[in-house]
């Protein structure tokens, strides 16, 4: 357990040793703040739905930027050779890095808590959907992070890891809007595969266990595949 927390701790601090964390958080806040508030006063409704609807797309670019270096950098620099000879199980390495990324996503969402606090002062905010939305955002971020880690383990090149990761996350987020082009027989299945509809349910305050299971299974599959990729390198 101590190895896991040590890796988690180090990876989280690493984000702040380089400019990555600051840049990504800044970009995220600017983009989300801009798009959310540009229509907020026109709609004149005291809720956060618009904000949460942005997340599947924005996260699709932001989260892979956070995960791209996690494994590919270690492999290209060769420090994975060092990790590979430490008495640490691959699952602890992967989980430690994943949790560090999840914590950074939480840190990134933290300043946005100002939005509901402000909205609550000017209108009558229903806190249920807001809390559900933040929980959903963490689940969504976790699922994207697991996908990002998988693509990071597949390539020595961080840029490739980022682009492939972002493409996969974007496809998951957008799948729901592509249903129109699919044969009717598989529409239900494809809709279930996409992250969008699951996230919307949670963001509306509907905490369905199926949606939670969906996100957790993506996390599990992503991390497990990462472990298999790393083991195949031995």
């Amino acid at each position: 357990m101590s190895a896991l927390t040590a890796i988690w701790n180090k990876e989280f601090k690493d984000y702040f040793l380089t400019p990555i964390a600051y840049m990504v958080i800044a970009v995220f806040l600017v983009v989300v703040g801009w798009f959310f508030f540009s229509t907020f006063f026109i709609k004149n409704q005291a809720n956060m739905q618009e904000f949460f609807q942005l997340l599947p797309i924005v996260f699709a670019f932001v989260v892979p930027a956070l995960t791209m270096r996690l494994i590919s950098e270690e492999i290209s620099l060769g420090s994975y050779e060092l990790m590979g000879t430490l008495p640490v199980r691959p699952r602890h390495i992967i989980l430690g890095k994943f949790l560090a990324c999840l914590c950074l996503i939480a840190a990134m969402l933290l300043p946005t808590l100002l939005y509901p606090l402000c909205i609550d002062r000017v209108g009558d905010l229903d806190w249920g959907p807001v809390l559900g939305g933040y929980l959903g955002a963490l689940l969504l971020g976790g699922a994207y992070a697991a996908i990002g880690m998988l693509t990071s383990s597949l390539s020595r090149n961080q840029i490739v890891a980022f682009i492939v990761g972002a493409a996969v996350c974007f496809a998951l987020a957008y799948l729901q809007r592509m249903l129109f082009f699919m044969p009717e027989a598989i529409q239900g299945f494809v809709d279930y595969l996409g992250a969008g509809s699951h996230f919307e349910n949670i963001a509306q305050g509907v905490l369905d266990i199926r949606d939670v299971i969906y996100f957790l299974s993506i996390v599990f599959l992503g991390l497990y595949a990462t472990k298999l990729v790393l083991e195949s390198k031995e």
Partner: protein, 312 residues
């Protein structure tokens, strides 16, 4: 301590280690010597558990890496060839991180790091980032990391590569010191280094051991092969050759380019334990030749190394 049987490793069908047997008793310093691409690094990586062998059995102490590698990794200290450590961490933080990741039950990690700092003379760079260090300091930080957890087995991949001569001497004496208590396996392609630091040398070529013994044993084996150079006057090349080849102990007579004076220069390749010069002299004396020069040359370890690794 370490027992390897029939170890093979293929990378995408290319053979790196070929059916290798090796036994390293506890407390020995073993040098794996070989040219680049002989499979040294692969063997070390397999031992550290970084890569898995294609086939073969390894036992480290009483444990089998195929069953559970993690407790074995805890007993091994490893210095990779190019020390790939986190460039943006401070040296101190790096060592501290390694203590944490290894989960060492230390009462005072700070004291341990200070101790390593003294042993490896890296006190002064503790608060520099790893990326700033010179190659010599980097190597020492790598060694400090490898010994941080006081491992029973130390595996060093080209420990002196890229160091200046003074640093090489320092690192060698450090290895000798450490080797008094621990089992050490190091790889090198520099013969004098293996000779200076190791109790035993295994010469590798294309993934196989081609010689294995103490430096003295390998040298003795070298001494059994010697060459004698003769310069003769008034000798017919063909006749000289056939009569000298019949001397016991002489394997082969090779004519060399003679000096312009017209004398005949020959190299006699000899094997066997005893000195053949006396018999060669008798043979020359029995003919009507004049002996201008006779000199003997024992093959150096360098020559043996070259021959062994080129032959196969």
């Amino acid at each position: 301590m370490i027992n390897i049987q029939g170890l093979s490793k293929y990378y995408d069908g290319v053979c790196a280690v070929d059916d290798l047997d090796l036994n390293v008793p506890a407390g020995e310093i073993l040098g794996l010597l070989g040219p680049n691409g002989a499979g040294k690094t692969t063997i070390l990586r397999v031992l550290t558990g970084y890569i898995r062998p294609t086939s073969g059995r390894i036992r480290i102490g009483e444990m089998d890496p195929a069953e559970d590698i993690v407790p074995i990794k805890a007993r091994i200290g490893y210095l990779p060839e190019s020390i790939p450590i986190y460039r943006n961490l401070l040296v101190y933080d790096f060592l501290r991180y390694m203590i944490r990741v290894r989960g060492l039950p230390l009462e005072d990690p700070h004291a341990r790091i200070k101790e390593m700092g003294k042993v490896f003379a890296i006190d002064s760079v503790m608060h520099k980032t790893v990326g700033e260090l010179s190659k010599g300091y980097l190597q020492r930080v790598g060694l400090a990391h490898a010994l941080l957890h006081d491992p029973e087995i130390l595996i060093l991949d080209e420990p002196t590569s890229g160091l200046d001569p003074n640093q090489i001497l320092e690192i060698r004496s450090l290895i000798r010191e450490v080797g008094r208590e621990k089992t050490v396996i190091l790889s090198t392609h520099i013969l004098s280094e293996a000779e200076a630091t190791c109790d035993r040398i295994a010469i590798l070529s294309q993934g196989r051991t081609v010689a294995d013994g103490t430096p003295q044993e390998i040298k003795n084996r070298a001494r059994q092969h010697r060459s004698v150079t003769l310069e003769l006057k008034n000798a017919d090349p063909e006749q000289a050759r056939s009569s000298l080849e019949s001397v016991s102990g002489v394997d082969r007579v090779v004519p060399l380019d003679g000096p312009e004076t017209g004398s005949l220069l020959l190299r006699l390749e000899c094997s066997g334990g005893d000195d053949p010069r006396e018999r060669i002299y008798q043979s020359v004396k029995s003919q009507d030749w004049i002996l201008l020069q006779m000199s003997q040359e024992a093959r150096s370890l360098e020559n043996i190394f070259k021959e062994l690794t080129l032959e196969s």
